[in-house]
Symmetry: C2
Subunit: 302 residues, 2 copies
């Protein structure tokens, strides 16, 4: 079991979906990621919160064994996001973003964290992602997430950091946007020419596809009768994916495929409730049962 470092956001989210509302609940890319990854391996979190951040949230992460020495408490208020989803639930509409302390986030890695063999650069400014990479001894595997905002506004910086990572996790529409190519298969191949050896495209209710070294691997989304709140699904997916790989300590094709299924498993739980509510009650045997259910979803050579 190897150490996994994540750098990203810890936030307070206010979300409304067709099924309910939640106000100022625990959110943020690094939060969902680290909580999901903690089911598999040792996680180290680097992020910033304000003085108003509830201590109970930090206790929640520590209770999962997450190393929070890199979680900086800064003067000011915590990053807040306000969003809503309509019935299709595939895309959030952002109503308000208050960056607060996150606006001045400058990740400084404590010495011990610089040697983490597995690294996830969650969706933050590409210059910061590159800066984190520079502070580290080269990890065995570095993965990165990004979004339309950086693809459009910080393309040069994004291409720079992309050229130095191993895995890109990205939404389907953003993969097309990054590659400037409507066909997803061509887009994925184009992305691979930018640096990463592996691209994992997240397709929401259609699951995920990995393209690597001439191989394609598809996994469906778990069939849920009610997707309650999709917030955090992508970061939870990344947490399960990277957590499983770090736990195995190897990066071969069979491991990466199983990791994508574990990512899908974890994401399928997150969307069943607001915030980390479902993950908080999740038991390891439930994870294994849903993994087995994924096998049944796609098996046909029987």
């Amino acid at each position: 079991m190897a150490d996994l470092l994540v750098v990203g956001s810890v936030a307070l989210d206010s979300v409304s979906t067709p099924f309910g509302k939640a106000r100022e609940v625990l959110g943020g890319s690094a939060t969902y990621f680290s909580y999901a990854a903690s089911f598999f391996t040792n996680v180290r979190l680097v992020a910033t919160v304000g003085e108003d951040f509830p201590a109970e949230h930090i206790a929640l992460l520590k209770d999962r064994g997450i190393d929070t020495t890199g979680l900086q408490v800064s003067r000011g208020r915590t990053f807040r996001w306000v969003g809503e989803y309509g019935y299709d639930l595939n895309e959030a509409k952002t109503l308000d973003t208050q960056l607060n302390v996150f606006a001045d986030f400058k990740p400084m890695l404590p010495g011990a964290l610089k040697k983490s063999p597995f690294l996830f650069l969650a969706n933050i400014a590409p210059e910061l992602q590159l800066d984190v990479l520079r502070q580290m001894d080269r990890p065995l595997l570095a993965a990165l997430d990004t979004m339309n905002f950086w693809i459009q506004g910080k393309r040069e910086a994004l291409l720079r950091v992309l050229s130095e990572v191993d895995v890109l996790l990205i939404n389907e529409s953003e993969a097309r946007q990054l590659a400037r190519e409507p066909n997803l298969i061509k887009a994925a191949r184009a992305v691979l020419k930018l640096g990463p050896r592996t691209v994992v495209v997240k397709r929401g209710e259609y699951g995920a596809v990995m393209v690597s070294n001439g191989h394609f691997f598809f996994v469906p989304a778990y069939p849920l009768e009610s997707v309650f709140d999709p917030t955090g699904a992508g970061d939870t997916f990344a947490g399960g994916f990277m957590g499983y790989i770090a736990a195995q300590g190897v990066v071969d094709q069979p491991t990466v495929r199983r990791a994508i299924v574990y990512g899908s498993v974890m994401a399928s739980f997150t969307v069943e409730d607001f915030s980390l509510n479902r993950l908080k009650t999740l038991q390891p045997d439930e994870v294994e049962r849903r993994y087995a259910a994924f096998q049944d979803l796609v098996r046909f050579d029987i």
Copy 2:
């Protein structure tokens, strides 16, 4: 190997896609279906064409061993469809529909065809689908396709024939429309309450999902760098699906799962060129190689 009867349309299509144009080429639901199914089993075609229908098209079907005794040549012109696709290729825009002889299509099954153990009711008016079912000795397996036009305009008749078939093949958006339910999983379960034991939802570039008897089965679409023309993909899928089942002569869960993969295999070839052009050169070993490739696309418990 058991006989498979299809009732549907034979048409002359004019199609434009971002990659080219084709004028008055062979098309129609029963055409794509029967050609694809002929790779697996004995197919019997019931449809109508006009006096202008090129004899070479009938010869093409006969060369595949398709029984065309139910293909009626009526006074008048053949059914014509004119459509175009934009870059997303997921939905055709119909520019013109000339029903011609198809407007008076009243399928009359020659005696020998009434005993076909496998039946596919392609996308025609639900009253005609029911009338065909009434003419037959109850098949071992009856499957049906439909579309938004009938869901909206002939709902009662559609519900009537649905209550008497075993399998519904339907597009994703039409499944939601039929069930009046945005969540696909709930929609599929609602459709199962209307009669069919199995529903197969066609999701275009996202593949297909089958729901039956508490089981879900997902298959991705084959990753193609260029989808040249999606016309006929759904009917080709149905042809591969029903053709494989009829060839096996059994309708258990493993057979139905493999049938969905064969349907996906056949559809992946059709979209590589206009009309039946790709299927015309397709060899059985290419079908088997692509089936094996599908296994590699989803396999992870290795």
